[in-house]
Symmetry: C2
Subunit: 165 residues, 2 copies
Amino acid sequence: MTDDPRWLSPRELQAWMRLEAVAELLPAALDQQLQRDADLSHYEYLVLAKLSEAPDRTLRMSGLAASTNATLPRLSHVAARLEARGYLTRVRSADDRRATLATLTEDGWRKVVATAPSHVTEVRRLVVDRLTAEQVDQLDAIALAVLGALDPDNRLEAQNPVAGA
Amino acid sequence: MTDDPRWLSPRELQAWMRLEAVAELLPAALDQQLQRDADLSHYEYLVLAKLSEAPDRTLRMSGLAASTNATLPRLSHVAARLEARGYLTRVRSADDRRATLATLTEDGWRKVVATAPSHVTEVRRLVVDRLTAEQVDQLDAIALAVLGALDPDNRLEAQNPVAGA
DNA sequence: ACCGGTTGGTTGACGCTTCAACCCCATCGA
DNA sequence: TCGATGGGGTTGAAGCGTCAACCAACCGGT
């Protein structure tokens, strides 16, 4: 723990500090826009968005948690609030009665539809439109490489087969 | 707000979702390692690290807040805890008596020295060592571009003139 | 010298995430 | 059939960040 590691080179250090800054500032910026325009946190929006893309607009809590990179307790709390606001409903699965199925309500669907455009616009403004097409591809490759360490079980892809095996 | 934006292309969407995942998972991973090995949050470590690099190991609260990408209230709370743990001290500036100067104590210095190696190792494991040299440069350019939108006043660079004007 | 406006910083209340404990149900072995 | 094990999910308490209110001190004008 106290032995000398390989220190970062100046280029590595600079890239790292900038990534650190982005990782700190980006979530806050997304939260702010969504809070202001839709009274939703970024994570709440993510939950609604994932449900909106699912078959029957329904997902198991555990699957929803995995696909949104969250712990189950966190999702449970958020789902409780969203349910209280009428955006989703939770029912026990008939199939496996330990499981809980979350379903987007009609109101929830309308909320997503109403919110998505401004969110996409913000994502473009903050990230996508500031990068060249090559940089978008580079970013994809870099993020994938980093996710290899951050998400060893690939829980994200497992739910969302982008280029399926 | 409800008008159709330019939607993301498949490539853009994938890169975005992966960046989103990294921004969500990376801070948590760093927190975990530091918490386990040093009983420090990532942000607390950042504060101590910045102080350790400053002249006289001393910085104004406002400057420290800017260079760590945090709000002043947040820093104030964190500094109070770090002071209680004996890692830094706060005194009113003689020069401008509204200002507060935070100084790293000897204990704080030792804490940083003891913690830095394992932190760097973790940064390498999660990010730097998973990228090629080209990708590190690409990441630097991409992060810089994004920071242009996230940090319009360039508060970060202002404190830390990398290639100073 | 004084008074309004502004900057620097702290404090307290609130909201969200985390962690641990807990309950319910499915599964497996006897 | 019964008991043990473990997975799925929720709940409550604790900790940290945010926001708004507040105090203190500098600065400009008069």
